[in-house]
Symmetry: C2
Subunit: 436 residues, 2 copies
Amino acid sequence: MRAVDIIMKKRNGAELSDVEIRFLIEGYVKGEIPDYQVSSLLMAIFFKGMTPAETASLTNIMLNSGDRMDLSGIAGPFIDKHSTGGVGDKISLPLAPIVAACGVKVPMMSGRALGHTGGTLDKLESIPGYFTSLELSAFRKGIIEDGFAMTGQTSRVVPADKKLYALRDVTATVESIPLITASILSKKVAEGADGIVFDVKCGSGAFMKTLDDARSLATSLVATGSAMGKQVVAVLTDMSQPLGYKVGNFLEIEETLDCLEGKGPGDVMELVYRLGSWMLVLGGVAKNLDEGRVRCEEVVASGEALDLFYRNVSRQGGNIAEMLYRRNTWRSEHVRELRAERSGYLSSIDALEIGLAGVYLGVGRNRTEDAVSPTAGFVFNKKRSDRVEKGELIATLYGKDEESLEPAYTMAASAISISDSVPPASALILEEITSQ
Amino acid sequence: MRAVDIIMKKRNGAELSDVEIRFLIEGYVKGEIPDYQVSSLLMAIFFKGMTPAETASLTNIMLNSGDRMDLSGIAGPFIDKHSTGGVGDKISLPLAPIVAACGVKVPMMSGRALGHTGGTLDKLESIPGYFTSLELSAFRKGIIEDGFAMTGQTSRVVPADKKLYALRDVTATVESIPLITASILSKKVAEGADGIVFDVKCGSGAFMKTLDDARSLATSLVATGSAMGKQVVAVLTDMSQPLGYKVGNFLEIEETLDCLEGKGPGDVMELVYRLGSWMLVLGGVAKNLDEGRVRCEEVVASGEALDLFYRNVSRQGGNIAEMLYRRNTWRSEHVRELRAERSGYLSSIDALEIGLAGVYLGVGRNRTEDAVSPTAGFVFNKKRSDRVEKGELIATLYGKDEESLEPAYTMAASAISISDSVPPASALILEEITSQ
């Protein structure tokens, strides 16, 4: 078997066998196949795609390149949620305790902020004392005792993905549906979940800008995940404006507490309940989405979900008293107000530009080694479709330092559009794709 | 400027600027841009192509990566011919002295046999004593005194092509019209010719199997060559059966002598005269193709062309007496006859299979370091469309050793088809593409 023949086969649009994909990818991870052959294969895949069978092969080969989370001996079901990343997307934080309170285990591995998208680990670490690098034993204990735990990925999980992603990043081969699918799924399956609910974001602040692209990725995730024997659902959701009224690290912890007290922003509550309902259905705890929604609302109303969140904070080193003391007051001293330049209706709060402005403020980072600020971010007073009068406060910006405010303000101001008429209504949940 | 952005631009189908192509290719040759980025760019070019302006940029950058033949101080015009490679393609050998005898200088740099295609240098070196590695001063002297000289390329000519070709060869990016164009043209322009006649072969024994592919390459060569200020013509010719009656190294020297004596095979004479006529037109020595043809026929009839060939052989160390003594008798002792299995008409002598059988016999080579045999090859008694009776001799095979005969015979036998009816007539010269 020669690498060049396999590259040519893909280049010519034929389907590669499991053995051929294994030859190249395992060989690459072992250092036997040179990167210049893999990068030309990746570009050929960018143009010619992969069948569900090929994508499942690639995902399995990547998955088997590293460690898998050992959940043996713990009673399931294990259901996880994965978001393709957005702005103000704190959904994982209230969702995990709500679903756990309903009796479904959530082994959640999250990521960090990069570029304009936020990171669950960075938000959690804004809680004083909270740590996110759990040993396997601590992670297992959290799942057993609280029904969920929150951690980051170790370098031993899917090393093939790290090597391939680094190569894709410098060879313009990131934006390929099968390669994205294998990258996401290999990591999620390595976490040991029986089922996964994907929140595939769509719009300016999302990786997938158009509904067509989001639908392609969602379909590929569901088809490939199903081919690997997992229960998979994908929910396509709007990411053309930030989720909720707060974008930041500790700011989103505050909104998480609001949610768990049943008084979170409408869009955040809607999405948490929808994704939670799906997780309960996949976990066999609810017969259908309506029943799932009722269960989720119950554990919020009863305070059980909030209680589990506190238990998790405490277990992972967070100081609950300090968190509650700082709630709604812990803000950077570097403040700038964004006010309406004219009267009208807010027709757009562009999520990408808010996300990029957030990088200036210190919410996110451009390079993985950069630090983030717990107290930086945005507090919005208005959302899309709201009426605003000239000079009225739309948002308050909190920056990590004084210099960050000017560029962030300029970018945030350009994210805002005001129109004379009420903009057309838009849905938050756009489509749902299941394996049936 | 970042390499990944340039790769992405090409991947998305946009036109790269000269500066962008220069950044990547010059950087690659200097070792500053890694091969894994170049290979993904090459694959993107395979799928998205290049405009004539991009191809001209690439060609110029490759050209300037190395030495150019210094023909300064020699009176022109300098016109060269380049064939994309075939089987039995000895055209350069009679063509150069014919054109030189008509007053056009031919600075000819040729290649070696590889795979099923033959090599002019290997054929010349079958003349006892002939050497093909000329110093620049000897090459210049040959052109000044004989009107032409025959040499190989030094490693200092277009080093970028050697590096890029080696990468293309292992990344399935060889078959790209703009990349082939830049590879061919950069080397031809480095030779210093003012005009180039391309013989673009088409058919089983050619690199381009279909007329569409051959036309694409021919059009690209003419467009790019013209954009670089050269006079360029491309002649599309049939390579579905070998040219002439002899395929081999010394065997093709014999057929060259036949041509220069005006009694070569019809197809070889036709092609030599057509390409020669074009070279005279490009060189301004003939007003049109008809006049060019008359001039070519004259220098053959007068013996001037044969005389120049002898002068060249002598100048490059060849022993004329020995060459003429061995003519039509110097054959390998390992012989096998290929006879008609039934009566009918020869409907096919597949050039690719004959070429590959020739590699077994020792005419060509699979790896550049392999040696070739001067006395191996085929002598055909029949050509396509000829009537054959069962048992009649179609061809005689001469092998470098006894073991080579069996596999070569099997392959050559499979190249032959016999039909009951006369096969449809087919043209040798299929199309001609000029810059107008």
